[in-house]
Amino acid sequence: MLSRTASTLYWMSRNVERAENTARILDVAYRMSLLTNDPNLQDQEWFAPLNITGTLFPFSGRHSIVNAREVLHFMAFDPDNPSSIYSCAQAARENARAVRGTITSEMWEVINATWLEMQNMDEDRMYARGVSAFFEWVKERSHLFRGVTFGTIRRDDAFSFHRLGTYVERADNTARIVDAKYHVLLPSVADVGGAVDYYQWSAVLRSVSAFEAYRKVYRDSITPLRIAELLILRDDIPRSLHFCLRDVYNILCKVQNRNSGEATRQAGEIYASLQFGTMDNIFAIGLHEYLTAFLESTQRLAGEINQSFFAPSLPTA
């Protein structure tokens, strides 16, 4: 497969995944803000999406206050924010257009129709339809794209690079979500208890569609330690770090070339640490420190993937 095509497919799926994740994060912030009548506390909730996505800095460059309206605008519709849902939908569509001959017509139609609908969407319409309904729509489009992809594409390199992008993006996202809430997940604050914590914890689970899975796996009350275990070490939760890195590793083994040995090794190393890691160990290191190291190592891995597959190879003499 052409390096440029592989790279474009990888970024197409990262953009789709990012749009979905942003919708999930915003939806949780929105629901949390509805739990209180105190406007100050409501506004507090809107720091979380900015922290998770690491966009507080660019946001504060153009906005003086953090509240629902400002954050929703910035993260959902702002064309100048490259991570906004709008920008991701646009970028994904541009990517899809560039590899139109490689993806199936069904995949193209979903991504093109999403972009056409997105252009007809604005904040007024979102508030009129209901904020959560908009996020549902974004998630549904992403689910539809995933379903259409699985149902139509040949299991070749195109599929592999598409999945690689999805899992690299998703691992990054899950780690950020858990990290942003690490203070409420620390065992030391477990004794604080209370309703707000319960909602915080369940919000984390819901933002990665793992609330129901938690109930099934543990059949018990929600505790921060188990949440962390579920989202980091479980191998059967599609958004856990373990699950994502196992797929990243397997895909890299499948598409390996002469230059990709280091990328495969790095992925294998992270995968092994998740496969054989324990929660005791993670908490001994410190959850925040552990996740910071994880994010750094996956970013290094993403750089290595770029080098070995996408960077134009030099003419061989």
């Binding site: 497969m1 052409l2 095509t5 139109r100 001959g101 490689t102 017509s105 070339n257 003419p315």
Partner: protein, 471 residues
């Protein structure tokens, strides 16, 4: 060509429906207008969703528009088409023989059939091609020949397109759309299929691979996604199952072309390039081209890669070469041309210039090297000021212009804002030349949607129709 009588494709002069349109006319009369309106709307939505759009130069970057699709087909009886098809085959064979000749022995120039200066002094003549032997001696593998009808219903060739003719994706998509919207019409009569075009094209490209390559790697080279025909490039690559590459995806080493893949460099044998000669190799042609592949011409000259179409075909489809095509047919094939040319005045010729300047309001004057309907003067539709301005342009460099009679392009009933009305059409069949010459039945019918307009180009408000050859 008659100017007064307008040929209507569907209705004879006495108002009766022509026999080959009878089934369609009956169907139209018996189909509720609501269903038609609904399906016309559905067609728009589908084209948008599928993303069959084209970019318009001169508008904001990324602007994409739909080509309006009209549901009334352009129907041609098979008997008439088969004769046209023979004429096209004959013409393209002669054009390929001519291209081989001008880059080798130049027999036709030596025989005095075409003035030497008209060819060797043409900016589209590529001295770089002299003496290069291309596989099979074929230069124009894909040719788009524009046809029009006069008042009597006879076909004339308006223009040959031998460089990178586009539009074939619309031919295929228009048929798909008609079959999706009105499947019943295809049960009522036998409409010749067109959807095997990508197979024929792939076979043609395989035929021209350099000798010694059993399983040639074929790629389609596009200038990129901001090119107006990008949709078509992606579409054809997908239909043929070949890679769609940009210049930056390719490189040349040891006079061999490679593409950069995730598994390392892979050799490329045939390039179906949809990018002009000027831009394909910055080492050989325009040095500022960011779209091309440095060294491509070296590999081409070494016979290590085939290009379709070949470099230098522009010298044969130039409007100043066009008047000599009938002579080429006689010279190379020893046959009389089946399809006629439109009478053409060459303004570099003083007698022609004098006549044309005296009859500007009756004629169409074009730049010999213009395309896309830009920069032409349509005499009858022009104002006195426009004619005066154009006259000056012509006088500055008369050899750069040609003139033709204002054609009474045939008209086909077409849906407009105010119901069905006749609109002018032309027809572009696509002729493929590999081991043999092949074409699918029919071609792309373009329609001028503005009342009275003769400009069918999509960049200037033209639309498209499905074309049916019925037995």
């Amino acid at each position: 060509m008659g100017e007064s009588a307008l040929f209507n494709e569907m209705y004879a002069a006495d108002g009766t429906v022509r026999p080959h349109y009878e089934i369609f006319a009956n169907w139209l009369a018996n189909t509720p207008p609501e269903k038609i309106a609904q399906n016309r709307h559905a067609a728009d939505l589908l084209f948008h969703r599928v993303g069959i759009t084209f970019a318009v130069y001169g508008e904001a970057t990324g602007t994409e528009r739909l080509i309006p699709f009209d549901i009334v087909p352009h129907i041609i009886p098979a008997v008439q088409w088969d004769r046209v098809s023979e004429g096209l085959t004959q013409r393209v064979r002669a054009l390929n023989a001519f291209l081989h000749d001008v880059y080798h022995g130049r027999d036709i120039l030596k025989a005095g059939k075409i003035p030497e200066q008209a060819i060797l002094g043409n900016s589209q003549y590529r001295p770089e091609m002299v003496g290069i032997d291309v596989p099979g001696g074929i230069y124009a593998h894909i040719a788009g020949i524009d046809l029009v009808k006069d008042g009597t219903g006879e076909y004339f060739v308006l223009e040959d397109n031998l460089r990178t003719p586009s539009g074939v994706s619309y031919l295929l998509e228009n048929r798909k759309m008609m079959m999706r919207l009105f499947p019943e019409l295809f049960g009522m009569q036998r409409v010749r299929p067109v959807d095997h075009y990508p197979d024929l094209l792939l076979e043609t490209l395989r035929n021209v691979a350099p000798a010694g390559t059993d399983m040639p790697t074929i790629v389609l080279m596009t200038p990129g996604q901001f090119n107006s025909a990008y949709f078509e490039h992606a579409f054809l690559a997908q239909q043929m199952g070949i890679e769609l590459v940009e210049g930056a995806d390719l490189f040349v080493a040891d006079d061999t072309v490679f593409m950069r893949t995730t598994q390392g460099p892979q050799r490329v044998d045939v390039i179906y390039r949809r990018i002009d000669d000027d831009f394909i190799d910055p080492e050989a042609f325009r040095g500022d081209s960011m779209l091309g592949v440095p060294g491509l011409m070296r590999a081409y000259r070494a016979g290590r890669v085939a290009l379709a179409n070949a470099v230098g075909t522009g010298v044969a489809d130039d409007k100043s070469t066009y008047p000599y095509v009938p002579e080429m047919i006689r010279f190379y094939l020893g046959e009389e041309p089946i399809l006629k040319n439109v009478h053409t005045w060459m303004l570099g010729n003083p007698a022609d210039l004098e006549y044309v300047l005296a009859h500007m309001e009756e004629l169409v004057i074009k730049e010999a090297q213009g395309s896309g309907g830009y920069g032409m003067l349509i005499g009858p539709a022009s104002t006195k000021e426009e004619r005066a301005r154009y006259r000056q342009r012509v006088l500055d460099a008369p050899e750069k212009f040609i003139a033709q009679p204002t054609l009474a392009l045939s008209a086909c009933p077409t849906f407009t804002d105010r119901g069905m009305a006749p609109r002018h059409i032309d027809l572009r069949p696509y002729v493929l030349s590999g081991k043999e010459v092949k074409l699918v039945s029919g071609g792309l019918t373009r329609v001028a949607l503005r009342e009275g307009s003769l400009v069918v180009n999509s960049s200037q408000g033209g639309g498209v129709k499905d074309t049916w050859i019925i037995d």
